[in-house]
């Protein structure tokens, strides 16, 4: 069984992002980039399925700049067998990515697509759902447990108020939530082996898709800074302030 794992290159989770002075976006100059944490979980799940003997081939795919090769190499160091980069310098958005992924799915015909529920840069949480809609595959989103057997995948989903288990007929799309697994580190011997694994580069034109963004960013602003609190001297003072300053009572 072949599994496709789409991954995204994003600003490192530990970087404190700063808004550009002209409010057009976030400053990415000289900022450390890394694989989106939810994508790491997706790669880990695919690798575990392969270790269990369920999966025979893992294909990692990324839609992004040339430098996204680094993250594909990491995915291969973690256990992906080969990878595909759809190279573009566009500021790609979920719909464009989903269309590109659909084209890859048509080519590769994986039985399972495992991807992160969202990327920590845009926080859109749309790509997996859009891909499912475009390909007509069933979807199991926010997975905290994945079991594949007899041509079906059982996905335990983290939903408001509890857990829901759905059973999907393969091929299917699964998006990963935080508690699905704890990703391993890339071992140095595997990082070296990953250098020799195949990495194909394609363009949007090769796939016949249009990656032009449909949504325009008007302005990006940092969240308003919170005012420091004060310590009041007495209950009376508190009541007085709530009444006259905050005007909430």
């Amino acid at each position: 069984m072949k599994v496709l794992v789409p991954i995204k290159r994003v600003v490192d989770y530990n970087v404190k992002v700063r808004v550009k002075a002209d409010n057009t976006g976030v400053d990415l100059a000289n900022v450390k980039m890394a694989m989106n944490p939810f994508c790491e979980i997706a790669v880990e799940e695919a690798v575990r399925l392969k270790e269990k003997g369920v999966v025979t081939e893992i294909v990692a795919v990324s839609i992004g700049p040339k430098t996204a090769q680094e993250q594909l190499r990491t995915a291969m160091a973690l256990g992906a067998d080969r990878s595909i980069l759809v190279e573009t310098d566009e500021d790609v958005q979920p719909l464009g990515i989903a269309k590109a992924l659909k084209a890859i799915v048509d080519e590769e015909k994986p039985e399972l697509v495992i991807l992160g529920k969202q990327a920590i840069d845009g926080d859109n949480n749309q790509t997996g759902q859009m891909l499912a809609a475009l390909t007509g595959m069933p979807q199991g989103t926010f997975a905290s447990e994945v079991n594949v057997a007899d041509g079906k995948v059982k996905v335990t989903r983290e939903i408001d108020g509890g857990l829901q288990t759905v059973e999907l007929t393969l091929p299917a799309v699964v998006t990963t939530d935080l508690r699905l697994n704890e990703p391993r580190y890339a071992s140095l011997p595997n990082i070296m082996k990953a250098k020799k694994k195949p990495l194909d580069t394609k363009t949007a034109a090769d796939l016949g898709v249009d990656l032009t963004p449909r949504v325009t960013t008007v302005s990006v602003e940092a969240p308003a800074e919170r005012q420091a609190g004060i310590i009041v001297g007495s209950v009376d003072e508190l009541v007085e302030k709530l009444k006259n300053e905050a005007k909430v009572i």
Binding site: E182, A186, L188
Partner: protein, 464 residues
């Protein structure tokens, strides 16, 4: 309270008002550091806000024979900031402002009560970096760092606190205010007293202002965690990497340390079990550096020095891998560990460790020895865990023997009985293992110059 002491307290109250704390709770809070051996018993706690107030406190102390103990974040491990003998604690919590920043000098002038992390964050805001870093950076204060010449995890690349202080204002034991080196980089005008005060543990005077230089931020920090078959191989790994790469850290820890930290909930780096592990960190200034690190790793594997290893792929993983080293201390804390902080020159480390292991295990075979430390600078933290069935008193009595043996070995290898934790009271009896009688006599003579009446942190470092 004697009439003398009464008069002193009255003058201090006039000077400080509510900022002279005399309640029991404050006394217990301000009178101790992380060592819990001596019970705190200060006469009061002073919270000065200005240099002038510090000078006046010192003058009052001289007049009335009052002893002063400086207090910063109180994260010390040698009882250097413990007030157990009716001293007045002078706490710098209220002198916690950043006073000046100059982008051309890349220097920041701070009051002594600025917390290390506050300085690190200030530097970051300015696009710069203050590289002295250690586990207690969230509480320790700059004044205390200077008093103890604090080191930490990046010493291999950035040196100790000493290397970052370009200017100091100190109030001596005579109450004089000295301005030392004035933030200059080049200054060839005789004795540089700044360096006498750094690491003097408050025995000569109190730091009331410091000018600290900053540096550029590290770029793309990456770490490797490697497993090695033996201690000598760890040294070979260090050597191999240092040939080609400027390491920002090189830490080691034993399999026992790893077992404790994993049991504490830190994720495992890899499955291969190894007797020793090392964590090394460097800046990936270019792709080339990464390639170089891989090539060295390959060589180390071929030579049999490395059994397995991982490399961080993000800053998040860098942080997680560092936890393997940084959380060892807390993971062994429930075992009431005996701790010692020692250093020898790097080449002597393996023999030194072997000697200590042999001596301790021969005498007390049931003691579990946990080693970790900043091996890149020859600094090791020796930890011995209390066997569960041994009473605390008996354990520490036996550990006193261990201390003596360890320091004898330190002396044999020309090392230091305190690499970065200072001497304070815990290591005072052993100073002679690292310093000659002539040297100690000179130290006492220096003390006499700056603090003739012995009011500044008496009973620490040595007895006058």
């Amino acid at each position: 309270m004697t009439a003398f002491a009464h008069a002193a307290m009255e003058q201090l109250t006039d000077l400080l008002g509510k900022r002279l704390l005399t309640d029991q709770e404050s006394a217990e809070r301000y009178g101790v550091d992380w060592t819990k051996v001596w019970a705190p018993s200060p006469c009061a706690v002073a919270l000065p806000e200005t240099i002038d107030e510090v000078q006046q406190i010192v003058e009052i102390a001289n007049e009335h024979g009052l002893h002063l103990v400086p207090s910063g974040g109180r994260t010390g491990l040698s009882a250097g900031a413990v007030a157990a003998n009716n001293e007045l604690v002078v706490a710098f919590d209220r002198m916690n402002k950043v006073l000046d920043f100059n982008e051309f000098d890349r220097a920041v002038t701070v009051q002594p009560g600025v917390v290390t992390q506050q300085l690190q964050e200030f530097a970051e805001e300015k696009g710069l970096f203050y590289p002295v870093d250690f586990a207690s950076a969230g509480s320790s204060q700059i004044g205390g760092n200077i008093g103890t010449n604090a080191g930490g995890i990046k010493v291999i690349r950035y040196g100790m606190t000493r290397d970052w202080i370009t200017g100091l204002k100190v109030v001596t034991g005579k109450g004089e205010l000295l301005e030392l080196n004035k933030g200059l980089i080049k200054n060839a005008t005789g004795y540089d007293f700044r360096h006498l005060f750094i690491g003097s543990e408050g025995t000569l005077g109190f730091v009331v202002e410091a000018t600290v230089k900053l540096t550029r931020q590290p770029k793309d920090l990456t770490c490797l965690v490697l497993g090695a078959p033996g201690f000598r191989e760890v040294m070979k790994i260090l050597h191999a990497f240092q040939q080609d790469i400027d390491l920002t850290a090189f830490e080691f820890f034993s399999d026992k340390a790893m077992a404790h930290v994993l049991a504490h909930g830190v994720p495992k780096p890899f499955d291969t079990e190894c007797p020793f592990y090392c964590l090394l960190e460097f800046e990936q200034l270019s792709e080339q550096v990464g390639e170089q690190a891989m090539a060295i790793f390959e060589k180390c594997v071929e030579e049999g020095w490395v059994l397995d290893g991982v490399m961080s792929q993000s800053l998040q993983q860098l942080d997680q891998l560092w936890q393997l080293r940084e959380r060892i201390s807390e993971s062994i804390a429930p075992h009431t560990p005996y701790k010692n902080d020692i250093s020898v020159s790097i080449a002597k480390v393996p023999d030194f460790v072997e000697d200590v292991d042999t001596v301790v295990q021969d005498a007390y075979p049931d003691f579990e020895i946990v080693w970790f430390g900043h091996i890149g600078d020859g600094n090791m933290h020796l930890n011995i865990l209390k066997p569960a069935d041994l009473a605390k008193e008996d354990f520490f009595a036996k550990c006193n023997n261990v201390s003596k043996w360890v320091f004898e070995i330190v002396e044999k290898y020309n090392g230091s009985i305190s690499a970065e934790h200072g001497v304070g009271m815990t290591k005072k009896p052993y100073l002679e293992y690292s310093r000659s009688p002539e040297e100690i006599a000179c130290m006492k003579a220096v003390k006499q110059v700056f603090d003739p009446n012995n009011v500044m942190n008496p009973g620490k470092l040595f007895d006058v």
